[in-house]
């Protein structure tokens, strides 16, 4: 087997056996599961403690409602048309109105009209009651497969938010998609920094334990670096895979139980591919930088003192995240799309906000790819020169000379 692959396999297995890595990888799905359960419990409690708010309206354009308007403490009032229902919502007579379209049996789509700005209405939401209401009516007249399907999965809601006058409020962005991409962007940078942090730690351990010289008597610095990048990159893909799947499950779950939360549509395949490319390039860039730090530092304590050089610019965009969400096309956001430290996160965040054109994506990926090549080249020079430097860190001037000339 190629020696780089031997190193890669060793690094991957070692990483998967690290307790810290397992905890970190499983923490996200665990937290999301807890959050989902918490939201469900909260909604359930609010339904029980606020019976006076449990009045909803509906407009049945599909002809599926035959009765069952009283569901526990929740009452569903029929309206003859959408305008009447909106007026009732705007006047506060009902918490929400549900428009059951004529093609409901085919689509399962129910339009929820709520009052407010966010489109989310956890406390007044009638999601569970609506499900019971629809099921009761559908079961009463089950006759064909489409209807049976609707009984099994009665509603996919889409929300129209209206203002005081009853007019729809224009949604500025797809909240579900934006949330997904923001979470992925955050996950990517968190995963990349975690994994590359382990890369740095591993290099320092190999120097401190004096394993490095044994390795270098069997393998070249380039093979060692490539093996480490591949192995830890594979570990990063495993981690990101677990996180993304759990995020998708979480978002699907939230749309089911939170009334008014926009339906989550899985991203398209091209978008997923672009996200994976950003992850891989971002990983390669930061891993190369961390490997360079690992080569020139001599202990874990020393390396921890200098990693801020890499981490600080990587997380910088998150300080301005609200500004970027409000204005994803601003000049700073565009510039950071091309800066290698921030490109993975900024690009994914802007993709989530649908603010990046194809040209920008291509240019950003080209810039990031070139940055990776340069970072790997420079790191190779440092790797070849300083992996066996124990005890003292080479002076900055010497490091710069090595980067420029390739010689100590």
């Amino acid at each position: 087997m190629n020696k780089s692959l031997i190193v890669a396999r060793h690094e991957l297995l070692t990483m998967l056996n690290r307790v810290g890595f397992r905890i970190m990888t499983l923490f996200v799905p665990g937290a999301m599961l807890l959050l989902l359960v918490g939201i469900g419990v909260y909604i359930s409690i609010m339904e029980d403690v606020a019976p006076e708010s449990r009045r909803f309206g509906y407009v049945d354009l599909a002809g599926v409602i035959t009765g069952f308007e009283q569901q526990g403490t929740t009452t569903f009032h029929a309206f003859t048309n959408e305008e009447e229902a909106r007026d009732a919502v705007a006047a506060g007579d009902i918490s929400a109105a549900y428009i059951i379209p004529a093609n409901y049996l085919q689509t399962g789509l129910v339009i929820s009209i709520v009052k407010g700005e966010s489109g989310l209405d956890l406390a007044g939401g009638g999601g569970a009651a609506l499900q019971r209401f629809l099921r009761a009516n559908l079961v009463a007249g089950v006759a064909d497969e489409a209807r049976a399907a609707r009984i099994r999965d009665p509603a996919q809601t889409a929300t129209i938010t209206i203002d005081e006058s009853g007019e729809p409020v224009q949604e500025s962005f797809d909240a579900s998609r934006a949330a997904f991409f923001m979470a992925v962007a955050f996950g990517i940078i968190f995963s990349v920094l975690t994994i590359t942090g382990y890369l740095l730690q591993g290099l320092n351990e190999e120097k401190e334990n004096r394993v490095m010289e044994i390795l270098l008597s069997s393998i070249t610095p380039d093979q060692l670096m490539l093996g480490k990048l591949l192995g830890l990159g594979a570990a990063g893909i495993v981690q990101m895979g677990v996180w993304v799947v759990s995020l998708v499950v979480f978002l699907i779950g939230v749309t089911r139980i939170v009334d008014g939360f926009p339906a989550f549509d899985a991203p398209s395949v091209p978008l997923i591919i672009i996200a994976v490319i950003y992850f891989l390039l971002g990983y390669a860039f930061f891993a190369a930088l961390m490997a360079a730090l690992g080569a020139i530092t001599t202990s874990q304590r020393e390396s921890q003192q200098v990693t801020f050089i890499v981490i600080l610019p990587a997380v910088a965009p998150f300080w301005l995240i609200v500004t970027f969400i409000e204005n994803p096309d601003m000049l700073l956001a565009r510039v950071l799309t091309y800066v290698p430290f921030t490109a993975p996160t900024m690009s994914l965040a802007r993709l989530g906000l649908d603010a990046m054109g194809t040209g920008e994506i291509i240019l950003s990926l080209i810039a990031l790819t070139l940055s990776v090549l340069v970072a790997v080249k420079l790191t190779q020079r440092l790797f070849r020169s300083y992996l066996l430097v124990y005890g003292h860190r080479p002076p900055l001037r010497q490091v710069v000379r090595t980067i420029v000339t390739g010689r100590v």
């Binding site: 087997m1 020696k3 334990n209 394993v211 010289e213 044994i214 069997s218 393998i219 066996l388």
Partner: protein, 312 residues
């Protein structure tokens, strides 16, 4: 035709030296720490590589192994330049050595075996064999940090032999070892020599060199200071030291003596280049000393080492 005994014997091309350095030079920060070192190690030969601290031993060894690139000169392995294939025929034990503390012993050895060219299955088999050889079979599933220091040192040495190397390069192999492990490792070195391996080891302990080496090479200040078989070297340096047993005090000054050391009734007299043992004996007798024993001493390798290191 290649030279080979049984299946464990090294395969070395006829006429080729297993390990050879030709005019190696290396500078760091403008200081030339290795200045044209040439050496070689033959099949089934143990070479003791000695020199004071900072003499350039480790740098020379690293260049022999391709870990450092020489500024000039060439390292040759099995008759050719160092390649990935020939590098796998070398077993190397560095001076500063360690293992992955958090990994299990068996896992570490298999990994190092694979890096030295063994297939995964073969690495597993050889790991079991080597653990048996060093008596640590029952510790295979323990983490390295759970082993005693002595056990760890044996494992380090075992890792060097995993792939049955043709050439063994050992940098200070016995430093820090307890006497039991030193004995065990010396036996392993001699076993490797009998198998046909070419062995070079660096050390500060001249007793180790005298015990193990077929040939000695000393470098000092980055240059080869002396080379030869231990007995030849001792004969070469013979004649400049005499040992005298006498209850009397020698005359002072003693013409032709570079130094006189007295311990009880024993005198060790180092002669100047021009003096002879007969001149000194004559002076002692003329001074009325009662001579109970007088001999021209063969210096130990340690004496030779110290004198060369001091530039005497």
């Amino acid at each position: 035709m290649a030279t080979a005994g049984d299946e464990d014997s090294p395969i070395i091309p006829d006429g080729a030296r297993p390990l050879e350095a030709i005019g190696l030079r290396k500078s760091f920060g403008g200081r030339e720490v290795v200045q044209g070192v040439s050496l070689h190690v033959n099949r089934a030969e143990v070479v003791g590589f000695v020199g004071p601290n900072g003499a350039g031993k480790t740098t020379t060894i690293r260049m022999l192994l391709g870990i450092l690139a020489p500024d000039s000169g060439e390292a040759r392995v099995l008759g050719g330049p160092l390649t990935e294939a020939t590098q796998e025929r070398i077993g190397y034990l560095p001076e500063e050595r360690g293992l992955y503390e958090g990994l299990r012993l068996g896992v570490v050895l298999q990994y190092l075996g694979q890096l030295r060219g063994l297939a995964r299955h073969d690495a597993a088999v050889r790991t079991r064999e080597m653990l048996e050889t060093v008596g640590l079979t029952e510790h295979a599933d323990k983490k390295v940090r759970e082993l005693s220091r002595g056990m760890t040192q044996l494992v380090q040495f075992a890792s060097t032999l995993l792939h049955k190397p043709d050439i063994l390069v050992l940098d200070e192999p016995f430093s820090g070892l307890d006497p039991v492990n030193v004995r065990h490792m010396k036996e392993l070195v001699l076993t490797e020599k009998r198998r046909g391996a070419a062995v070079i080891f660096s050390t500060h302990q001249m007793s180790d060199v005298e015990e193990l080496s077929d040939r000695v090479m000393m470098i000092n200040g980055g240059r080869v200071a002396l080379e030869g078989r231990p007995a030849e070297l001792r004969r070469h340096y013979r004649g400049d030291t005499v040992r005298v047993e006498s209850p009397d005090v020698p005359p002072d000054p003693l013409s032709g003596a570079m130094s006189v050391e007295r311990a009880g009734e024993s005198l060790t007299i180092r002669l100047t280049d021009t003096a002879t043992a007969e001149d000194v004996l004559r002076q002692l007798l003329n001074a009325g000393m009662r001579i109970e024993r007088f001999e021209v001493a063969l210096p130990t390798l340690e004496d030779i080492f110290i004198r060369e290191a001091r530039g005497e």
